[in-house]
């Protein structure tokens, strides 16, 4: 690792302490689908078992979320050549870090949650991936890199909408539950500031891969809840109204801002990015089945992606309706602005 990326690694050494193989900033923070107690069990098991075996034993539902080969499909939009140095902002358990590392020169993976990085470290060991450095840091407090260590690729995958969030988040006990919280600042400005820093830390030919839910995902109009706050209609309503709803239901402001296609393009331009390519992603960016350039006018080859069967093979009425609506919205009426997810590839 030192042979090829010594400048960046030297810089990391100059900025951060190294503890147990991880670069560590002086921050606190926790964001995980698992509780701290569950993570503790996982980490204990990792001393003797592989990362995958540990998950299958203690949290089998999450194994596919982390290891599914589907997850990396969007990375090809970057047209990687193999010699890139990358940063994965908000890497969690490495769903994109590992595929990125297997096809580029080096990846710096950053997350605020120590437990996630410790799991990822074990995973990298199991899979013999040795071109990754792990950094525990608050994504909003990333330093400006000196010019000679700026990177080729930045990945922000399912992260932007969580930038304005504060405090420890155990998603199981947080999602949709009432937690009184006082935020400061405008979520949009915080997201823009984060993206500005991402932009600054790219070299001249650098590119950003950003994936996020579409604010106007067609399902949001049909009563499907906001996937970040479990509230109804908050993504599609004006921000002020969404705020009132969130305060009433959850005791806290609505901060998980998502954007429309136009909104994301504007945000990226304000953050300094010069050229933005947008893609529609079905059924979502996490497990994509189809990724289609937004400039594709007609969607004439669109095939519905919502399965009528659940994971047990049972046909569900809601799924049938969802598939029908998906077909009508995209294949018949071609309302591409209502696609479920957005992937943006932006150039510095």
């Amino acid at each position: 690792m030192l042979l090829f990326y010594s400048s960046l690694v030297d810089f990391l050494h100059s900025q951060y302490a190294m503890i147990d193989g991880l670069f560590v900033a002086d921050v606190e923070g926790y964001w995980s689908n698992l509780t701290k107690a569950e993570n503790k069990v996982i980490l204990e098991s990792l001393k003797n078992d592989s990362a995958r075996e540990t998950l299958l034993r203690y949290q089998p539902w999450i194994e596919n979320v982390i290891y599914s080969p589907k997850r990396q499909a969007g990375l090809e939009l970057l047209q990687l050549q193999g010699d890139e140095v990358c940063i994965d902002y908000g890497c969690m358990w490495g769903a994109l870090t590992v595929p990125l590392a297997l096809r580029t020169r080096f990846v710096l993976s950053v997350d605020q949650t120590l437990e996630s990085l410790q799991f990822l470290k074990a995973r990298l060991r199991d899979e013999s991936v040795d071109n990754v450095a792990l950094l525990r840091n608050d994504l909003r407090k990333m330093p400006v890199f000196p010019e000679h260590v700026r990177v080729d690729i930045a990945v922000v995958n399912g992260v932007l909408e969580w930038i304005p969030e504060i405090g420890d988040i155990e998603l199981k006990t947080y999602y949709g539950r009432r937690h009184m919280k006082a935020y400061s600042g405008c979520p949009g400005e915080q997201q823009e500031a984060f993206l500005r820093r991402v932009h600054e830390n790219l070299n001249e030919e650098g590119r950003l891969y950003l994936a996020i839910e579409n604010r106007f995902d067609f399902k949001m109009f049909l009563g499907i809840r906001d996937p970040h706050s479990n509230t109804l209609f908050t993504t599609i309503l004006p921000r002020k109204v969404a705020n009132w709803l969130s305060l009433a239901k959850l005791g806290r402001s609505y901060v998980n801002w998502t954007y429309s296609f136009g909104g994301i393009a504007s945000l990226l331009k304000r953050a300094g990015f010069s050229r933005v390519e947008l893609y529609m992603c079905f059924p979502d960016y996490r497990f994509p089945e189809r990724i289609i350039p937004y400039e594709n006018k007609w969607l004439k080859d669109f095939r519905p992606t919502i399965s009528i069967r659940d994971i047990n093979g049972r046909v569900g009425f809601r799924r049938l309706v969802g598939r029908f609506v998906e077909t009508m919205v995209f294949k018949v009426f071609r309302l591409k602005s209502l696609s479920p997810s957005i992937i943006a590839v932006a150039e510095k």
């Binding site: 599914s68 080969p69 589907k70 990396q72 499909a73 969007g74 090809e76 939009l77 047209q79 193999g82 590992v98 595929p99 297997l102 096809r103 899979e127 991936v129 497990f287 994509p288 089945e289 189809r290 990724i291 289609i292 350039p293 400039e295 594709n296």
Partner: protein, 247 residues
Amino acid sequence: MIELIRNCEHGSCVSTYVVHGTDSRKTIVKLSHDPVGIEDLRREFEGWKWYHLRVDSHHPIACKIVQENPGFVKLCIDYIEGTIPCYTRGLVHNRKYLDAMVSHYLTIWPYSGDLVAMHGDYSLGNAVFQQGQLLMIDWEHFRSSAVFWGFDVVYLLVEALFYSVRRFRRIRADELDVFIKCAQSVQDRGELPSEFYSRPVGYLSDFIREKRELWGDQYLKFPFLSLEKPFVVELDDRISLEFKRCG
């Protein structure tokens, strides 16, 4: 411009894209960082190489591995414009395509009593018809010297029959007639296993189950494997009766 068109379908670990070049040429890109997917892509590359030497094509089809390291393989294949038949429409509707595919098989795979190479998914859905010429695509299940001669065309006919039965909800005599005639044209050029004539669907299903390692987890995608045994027996009885009647 890049489009993801398939992502790890039917147990596969390969992502497939169409890349639209600036010169309006298109390329298919397939990639994987999963060990099973990587093996599939290497097989696809071998399959194209094997096929390319044997097919008489107006335009050579390029298939190359453009990136390869221990944990990642990326393949680029020329996009082939043309018509792909609708495999769910039954045998009568697809008669001319089936005849062309049987004829294509007999050309590419001259009869041999030994084990022969396998496409592994020789299906209407993987046949591209372009200006009167047929090219088979999706060679990820390719194996050399793996199956009996005629396997791929037996698979083609049984799969087509399955979709016919599913579409019409019964075994139609005209559909069965096409099945028999196609099988007979194969028999004119070589010898299929005798058990095929007495229980074609059951025989093929059993063969695939016994050799499931040739397809890995993807063997479960073969639709006729989901048929209930009594129905398979009924279907086989009807087909074998027709074979006897036609001599």
